[in-house]
């Protein structure tokens, strides 16, 4: 059960603004970053990189979803998305887009999900 009313100290919106360096989340030069896009680091964190961005690079040595990054950083998804967009622009991360489920998911995909669950 999630704890209702669990306090969530954001440090105020100013901090988020700073972390995202005041950029808005939508910068559609690349494929959009979604909740379950898998992120893989392509660079080592360099000195001078924002701590949150450096943390993303460190934790994404192996693929990790945006949702997981948000959970580990304890930052809202929209803020993480902005950080990732910056890293993506600099080619520091690779984004593996989710399987597009269109209107109805592809039968082959469903088969793979079925098999995966049965063997789980």
């Amino acid at each position: 059960m999630s704890e209702p009313g669990k306090p969530w100290d954001e440090g105020g919106p100013e901090r988020l603004y700073t972390v995202s360096r005041g950029r808005a989340p939508q910068e559609p030069r690349h494929r959009p970053i979604e909740l379950v896009s898998l992120i893989v680091a392509r660079a080592e964190p360099e000195p001078g990189l924002a701590p949150e961005a450096a943390a993303v690079l460190r934790m994404c040595q192996f693929p990790l979803s945006v949702a997981e990054i948000s959970a580990y950083l304890v930052l809202p998804v929209s803020t993480v998305t902005v950080i990732l967009a910056g890293l993506l622009r600099e080619d520091r991360v690779e984004v593996r887009a989710p399987v597009p489920a269109a209107v109805l998911p592809d039968p082959e995909l469903l088969q793979a999900v079925m098999h995966g669950l049965q063997n789980f």
């Binding site: 669990k6 919106p13 460190r58 994404c60 997981e68 399987v99 998911p105 469903l110 995966g116």
Partner: protein, 207 residues
């Protein structure tokens, strides 16, 4: 509060990392009213300890350019628990337990878009808390199954009665489940996948 950050920025434990070959993810959303067992279900099937992701909504009716509007804005934070199942070396399934208050769903930009489907969990003692979830999914055209979570102290009702009470069409599968039980929860997900497969065969192209 910097200490909070330095403690939390850790990333996954080594046993929680995905293989480098993980190429794409799919998602299933578990919905239902407060206390119906969404988080329990996520926890019982997830291969990782369930995590919590948050989104913040700033309720600001005033434009940003309005210098007079310097009163503090109201922020609402909505948390969502989620878990993960590696289906194979390349494909990963994420399960999201959405907050009970459906009015917050829109916050999760793209949560339902691209989802394979949803599981609506119900507690027979409080069917009404899941009515809204069913309505919203129907509106959005998200395929779903309804899982009746077996709370030990809840009275048992025949499925047909529950179906009538929920006003569910026959096309929506209803199943019993025990959200605390891993294989029962997995079977619920399998029921959803079967339902999705059946939609393929009964609805070809509807222009």
């Amino acid at each position: 509060m910097d200490y909070r950050i330095s403690e939390k920025i850790s990333g996954p434990r080594s046993e929680d990392t995905l293989p480098a070959s993980a190429a794409a993810a799919v998602k299933v959303v578990i919905v239902g009213g407060f206390g119906v067992g969404k988080t329990t279900m996520v926890g019982s099937v997830s291969e990782i300890r369930p995590l919590t992701t948050e989104e913040t909504m700033t309720q600001a009716g005033v434009g940003v350019d309005d210098i007079a509007g310097i009163e503090r804005k109201t922020e609402t934070t909505v948390a969502m628990d989620f878990g993960r199942i590696s289906l194979n070396e390349r494909l990963v399934l994420y399960l999201f337990g959405t907050p009970g208050q459906e009015r917050f769903w829109f916050l999760w930009n793209g949560l339902f878009e691209g989802a394979l489907g949803a599981v609506v969990l119900i507690d027979t003692r409080r069917l009404e808390v899941s009515f809204d979830a069913v309505g919203r999914l129907e509106e959005r055209g998200v395929p779903f199954v309804v899982a009746v979570n077996a709370f030990p102290e809840a009275p048992v009702h025949p499925m047909a009665e529950l179906r009538a009470a929920m006003d569910l069409p026959d096309s929506v599968p209803m199943i019993d489940c025990d959200a605390r039980d891993r294989s029962s929860s997995r079977d619920t997900l399998l029921a959803l996948v079967r339902h999705l497969q059946s939609l393929h065969t009964v609805t070809p192209e509807t222009p």
